[in-house]
């Protein structure tokens, strides 16, 4: 039977009315993206900010004074000083201090000899990431302070290698710049999968599907009529997210908007495909919501290089990441935002996302019930 455009448009119009009148779809399509963006734009950051540390100066000298000043003046630390380690230990135990730097009584004597370390760093290893950051910052500060001191004393100190880091693509090294594009992918996954899964499950739950299936509607008409409005909704939400990212969060965008629109459309279709597939296997809205959170949102979050580094995961989990479309989309989005058009990379990502979408659709078309069982 040839698909009939009147039926498809009729169904699409009905879905549109339902979207417009149902506050929950507006919340998912507009409120959720903005919340997530604000969360990742303002709330979550991996940039270091003022760690509270303690500083023990056992024997104040001009050198300790100068080192203390360089610690305090750095933008990384909030420093609390004391004369004895015992004074600060309790605060470290209580979690108020993330680390303690101890300048021994013989600091001035040992400082320029270069063979032994005149200072000790104690860090709270509970949060390994923070601990490592504090250690390396203190170490870097120490190295630069030492160089300054030697130079001002007229000693020509020449370390074997001088590091002059240059950060490409994200010169401010701001985590916002890669978190915000990444969150756009998460948002689109949610809209595609969650919203679609919910609306189809709702039809079954309310008994309207039963009436729908006794009309002459065909499988393709049903799928197209249902998907089209959500595709549009998802793309609107995408524009909203990207606009917010660029104008509000001032994330640079160096690629082409046309490419962005194209790959977003392909990603949207994969996401909708997943949503439809979930809806065909869920008997009610509650289960549909649970499955879509578990199978769309969480994988998109964990396996997309968005927050968690895939390269540092066990090999088995790395394999899992290959079937998560969000992984490819995040990579493309970060490229488009921060690098620009990299045709080979984007083409590959798009192809893989399209393929995953095709698999979900194939499954959905096969699984879509035109009867009650």
């Amino acid at each position: 039977m040839r698909p009939n455009s009147r039926r498809i448009f009729g169904l699409a119009r009905k879905e549109t009315w339902q979207i417009v009148r149902d506050p929950s779809s507006i919340i998912i399509a507009a409120f959720l993206p903005l919340t997530l963006l604000f969360l990742f734009g303002y709330g979550v950051t991996f940039d270091p900010r003022h760690y509270d540390i303690g500083l023990v100066v056992e024997q104040p000298t001009p050198e300790t004074g100068s080192f203390t000043a360089s610690l305090i003046n750095s933008s990384y630390f909030q420093v609390e000083t004391a004369r004895h380690l015992q004074d600060l230990e309790d605060k470290m135990v209580a979690g108020e201090l993330k680390g303690i730097v101890v300048l021994r009584a013989d600091f001035s004597r040992q400082a320029f000899r270069g063979d032994t370390a005149p200072l000790q760093i104690l860090v709270d290893g509970t949060d390994a990431n923070t601990a490592e950051l504090i250690r390396s910052y203190v170490q870097a500060l120490w190295a630069s302070w030492l160089r300054q001191e030697l130079l001002s004393n007229g000693v020509d100190f020449r370390p074997p290698i001088v590091l002059e880091p240059r950060l490409w693509f994200n010169p401010e090294a701001s985590s916002k710049n890669y978190l915000v594009p990444g969150s756009v992918a998460i948002i689109m996954t949610m809209i595609g999968a969650l919203l679609t899964a919910l609306v189809v499950a709702r039809e079954w739950e309310r008994g309207t599907m039963e009436a729908l299936l006794t009309t002459p509607i065909g499988r393709w008409e049903l799928l197209l009529g249902k998907l089209a409005p959500y595709f549009v909704l998802g793309m609107i939400s995408m524009v909203l997210s990207v606009a917010t990212a660029i104008w509000l969060f001032e994330v640079p965008f160096r690629g082409s908007f046309l490419l962005l629109a194209m790959i977003s459309a392909v990603f949207m279709w994969a996401s909708l495909g997943l949503g439809l597939f979930i809806s065909t296997i869920s008997p009610n809205q509650l289960i549909a919501a649970q499955i879509s959170i578990l199978s769309a949102f969480l994988p998109a979050f964990y396996f997309s290089n968005f927050v968690f580094e895939i390269d540092s995961m066990p090999v088995a989990l790395q394999w899992v990441s290959y079937i998560v479309p969000a992984k490819y989309f995040v990579s493309t989005l970060q490229t488009l935002f921060l690098v620009g058009n990299v045709p080979e990379l984007i083409a590959l990502d798009t192809a893989v996302i399209g393929l995953i979408g095709l698999v979900f659709f194939g499954l959905t078309v096969r699984k879509t019930r035109m009867r009650l069982e």
Binding site: M1, N4, R6, R7, F9, G10, L11, R13, K14, W17, Q18, R21, D22, R206, G207, T208, E210, A211, L212, L213, T214, T215, P216, I217, G218, M370, R371, L372, E373
Partner: protein, 577 residues
């Protein structure tokens, strides 16, 4: 003989290997241009058969063809010829009346030019012209049903399938639906109407009577009714408690069925078992006499199914404290409840004495449930007072609330818990523990014959068993007062008889019952009823008195439903005048 519209050949359907088949080896034909009633007890396979006719389910064995289209082979052409209205009408509640119509017109590919006339016709036909812009979710039950019908009829089908179209719909809307359906049949459309209401079945041209997935009878309902001619009687002028009389009567083996209709007790005897009853043994008092009555379709139905559950309710035999006295137990004084501008209950006043059955009757949305909730202390009245056992339940101590039993409308048990777990849970809720709880639960299992279902998840029970379990959960703590909200809505007569057998037994022991219902046969069991319409009590009294009020020359033996419709129409005229 015209060609049959539906041809069903050797059809069987089973859900899951462990379950009994829903339909087994059924063959029949259904002709065009008439209304065929599909009746049978709850769980007899009505809905399954209807869904197979609609092509929504495929038979495991056998074939069904509609208008020459096989439901398996040519589903697409089948769907152009049929219209189907599912149990909840298949409407989109967040779409307006017109938008719902437009959607179904699109789905059935009705051209723009034809559409205007068709919509006009359908809206006039259903009386929905004034409500085209209203969201379907805001319509009353009766209006939803009409809109569901209009949506099914956007193109004229050859076959119209209606699955329990009148469940949850008030008598006036039911009457109108019937009028509309008759008109459609007159146009040559074949109609299959599945129903649990036998008064509807009685009006059909033909009925298919199913039980346990098999066809027990097919033909004109009058022919079936004729089979029990001479077997139906009534005991009139009963001077004692008619509930006790009925219970005694049901103790006889040759009595197939008995029920209370107003002041009288009707009964059905076995074929050839018309032996004269010894009235004094029934304890009906001097002056009581037995007269032969016209059989009704319901009598024939129950006879065909082998009679109602006989015997006495085990509640009858228990020798616990009877709750005696004539004091007023429930007192509603000018109860009023407003929701914004809308007055859901307006100055509702009535009293119920101990050991009485009181019925609140009215169409959907009339204010029955609102009144009920105020009595139970679930809803705060805007003005007026509700006193139960002399106390306002909203701030009564839990000890007082423990004297109340409440059976909510619909399914209010824990669907994922087994029958046993639900019973244990409610025993705990009512403060029974240890030996007391065990005894109460065991007694409920025995009384309601739940033994075979203890480990079944309660959501999987049939409707009749769900209602039994719900009743068991609300009476296990032996309440003095029992609130029943639409207790047997959608349940077949056999199950309803059994249900009321238990209720009657409780009443005989002094329990006070207050019941809401839109199902008028149920109201016959009440000592007194109050008719509620648009939030107000428009009539109150004994069922027989209300019936007598509307007796006219052409309506010599009005049913409570006739009385109800007449009184509401009269009230509407007064408002208009």
């Amino acid at each position: 003989m015209t060609k049959p519209l539906i041809d069903i050949r050797g059809v069987s359907k089973r859900f899951g290997a462990a379950m009994a088949p829903a339909v087994k080896g059924l063959s029949t034909t259904i002709g065009p241009g008439k209304i065929t009633g599909l009746v049978g007890p709850d769980g007899s396979g009505k809905t399954t058969l209807l869904r197979m006719m609609a092509g929504l389910l495929l038979p495991d064995e056998g074939t069904i063809s509609v208008g020459g289209h096989d439901t398996r082979e040519s589903a697409a052409s089948l769907r152009r010829d049929i219209a189907y209205m599912p149990q909840r009408f298949g409407l989109y509640e967040d779409l307006s009346v017109l938008e719902n119509l437009r959607l179904y017109a699109d789905l059935r590919d009705l051209s723009k030019s034809e559409r205007e006339n068709r919509f006009k016709l359908l809206l006039r036909f259903t009386g929905l012209e004034a409500f085209t812009g209203r969201l379907a979710g805001r319509l009353s039950g009766g209006m939803k049903q009409k809109l569901g019908l209009a949506c099914a009829l956007v193109t004229t089908p050859k076959l119209l399938l209606l699955d329990e179209p009148s469940v949850g719909v008030d008598p006036i809307s039911r009457k109108e639906l019937w009028r509309m359906t008759l008109e459609l049949a007159g146009q040559g459309i074949g109609i299959v109407w599945s129903t649990a209401y036998l008064d509807e079945a009685e009006k059909c041209t033909d009925v298919l009577l199913m039980s346990g997935g098999k066809l027990l009878y097919q033909g004109a309902p009058a022919n079936l009714t004729k089979r029990v001619e001479g077997q139906t009687f009534a005991i009139r002028n009963i001077q004692t408690d008619r509930r006790a009389v009925l219970a005694n009567l049901m103790g006889y083996d040759h009595i197939l069925d008995g029920d209370i209709r107003g002041h009288n007790v009707h009964f059905l005897v076995e074929t050839g078992g018309a032996s004269p009853l010894l009235l004094d043994q029934l304890g009906a008092g001097k002056g009581a006499h037995v007269v032969a009555t016209e059989p009704r379709f319901e009598d024939a139905f129950i006879a065909l199914l082998g009679g109602a559950a006989s015997g006495r309710s085990p509640f009858m035999d228990r020798s616990e404290r009877p709750h005696n006295g004539d004091d007023t137990v429930i007192d509603a004084a000018a109860l009023t409840r407003k929701f914004g501008d809308f007055v859901a209950a307006d100055q509702v006043s009535f009293q119920v004495n101990r050991g009485q059955v009181f019925g609140l009757i009215g169409p959907n949305g009339a204010g029955k449930s609102t009144t009920f909730k105020m009595l139970c202390g679930l809803l705060k009245p805007t003005s007026g007072t509700a006193r139960v056992a002399g106390l306002d339940l909203r701030n009564a101590p839990s000890m007082v609330r423990g004297r109340i039993g409440y059976m909510a409308q619909g399914f209010s048990l824990y669907g994922d818990l087994s029958v046993q777990q639900n019973l244990d849970f409610f025993a705990g809720v009512y403060g029974l523990s240890g030996k007391h709880a065990k005894m109460a639960v065991a007694r409920m299992i025995e009384i309601f014959a739940l033994q075979d279902y203890l480990t079944t998840r309660s959501i999987e029970l049939s409707l009749g068993y769900k209602r039994r379990l719900a009743l068991a959960c609300s009476v296990m703590h032996e309440p003095d007062i029992l609130f029943l909200d639409e207790p047997t809505s959608g349940v077949d007569p056999k199950t309803r008889r059994e249900f009321w057998g238990h209720i009657n037994a409780l009443v005989t022991r002094g329990v006070t019952i207050i019941v809401t219902t839109h199902f008028l046969d149920e109201a016959e069991y009440c000592d007194r009823v109050a008719l509620i319409n648009l939030g107000k009590i428009i009539a109150a009294g004994e069922p027989d008195t209300l019936k007598a009020e509307v007796r006219t020359a052409e309506l010599s033996n009005p049913s409570l439903e006739d009385a109800f419709i007449a009184i509401i129409e009269r009230a509407a005229q007064e408002v208009a005048a």
